[in-house]
Subunit: 232 residues, 2 copies
């Protein structure tokens, strides 16, 4: 059918415009202009603007099998390497690589103010992603750690990655364009987030300690690890 072509073009243009401007500020007319179709086509194919939004979102973020972040590393890899691969894959997707940038922006908008219509899609999408991360963390964290603590650690991993992307303009304002361009690449941020988390879990050397030092813990910790109550 030749219609599928127009329908697909609308879906794609809608994703772009919705991501750029948000649902309300996006106009059907601009979407149709970018898709190179008549204004009435949106209502012909999707009924109204709302249903177009839902379809565009579902098309951009299918909750199906293709959401695997990084299924290409072997399952028998060490958990630390799996975690690193997960973070790297997440940052890669966030920083807009092969996937068009607008898909992540669309997701960001739904995170900030969820549309009731997309809640099921979002839930499926995130639960799957989060479960992937928790599978990795479960192999690292002690078995007796309560679930809510584990979840918090998982969100801390995701939160750092998302922030470096979502708050990118603000970060640039603080540290300058040059430092951001030079030191906030996917690879360097992977090193940073992964190193911080693994160090927090005791699986890597604490941050800021050169490998040459014999001791692997901060000197001050001997004080803070005293039985208790020894303030000074």
């Amino acid at each position: 059918m030749s219609s599928d072509d127009a329908r697909g073009r609308i879906l794609n243009a809608a994703g772009e415009v919705f991501a750029e401007r948000g649902f309300r500020a996006a106009t059907v007319r601009e979407i149709c202009r970018r898709a190179d179709v008549n204004v009435a086509s949106v209502n012909y194919y999707f009924g109204d603007k709302e249903r177009l939004y839902v379809e565009a979102f579902k098309a951009a973020h299918p909750a199906g099998p293709e959401l695997n972040l990084a299924p290409d590393w072997p399952n028998d890899a060490r958990p630390e390497e799996q975690l690193r691969a997960f973070i790297h894959a997440l940052l890669t997707r966030l920083m807009s690589a092969e996937n068009p940038a607008w898909k992540m922006r669309l997701l960001q908008r739904e995170i900030l103010e969820p549309t009731p219509l997309c809640m099921e899609v979002m839930r499926a999408f995130f639960r799957a992603k989060f479960a992937q991360l928790m599978d990795i963390l479960d192999e690292i964290l002690p078995a007796d750690m309560p679930a809510e603590r584990r979840h918090q650690i998982g969100f801390s991993v995701i939160g750092q990655c998302v922030y470096f992307r979502a708050a990118s303009p603000v970060i640039r304002m603080v540290i300058g364009e040059e430092e951001q361009r030079e030191h906030h690449t996917v690879d360097l941020l992977t090193d940073h987030v992964c190193g911080l988390v693994l160090a927090a879990l005791g699986l890597a050397r604490p941050l800021g300690q050169p490998p040459s030092e014999g001791r692997s813990m901060h000197p001050r910790i001997v004080k803070s690890l005293e039985p208790e109550g020894a303030e000074k």
Copy 2:
């Protein structure tokens, strides 16, 4: 002047509506309805919608002296406690305490898609906040750590806090309302973020290790700390 009353009411209502709906989706009419003034008042006091937005933003987030996050703890406190106080204050503000919730939401919108008009205000606001955090971290981190690494750690602290707030709806979808209400309070999240960061810096015990254990580092670290190359 009796006008200051109306002007102030408009400024306040504008902040609320802009935060809820975003600049474009917010309507002057709704702002005036909430402020209980005539529609023309916006143009009378501020000229147009754009200038109203800038003024409302500046009024909500003054870059002046009052942005101190937590100036109430003594400067001679241990850096770890200062860091904890900073995180606690940030989370408190984020989670909408005394400050109306819409102020943080307005800030979130500017983070996600900065308005050119507010860039100077934003820059001043965030640079001051970030400098505060860096002052604390500088006392903890080794002096020879390069600036960009220090900045990354700072953003990791802020990023986690912001994510727990900004992604709150999504987090709720993943772990359920009950766990979020119970375990994502300001105090518990402060414990978590602070504990994770301090552990990563070697200033606290690694996560998931009960204080009863004699050793303070994960057993596996003895392997990963071997000179090098010993994969297995």
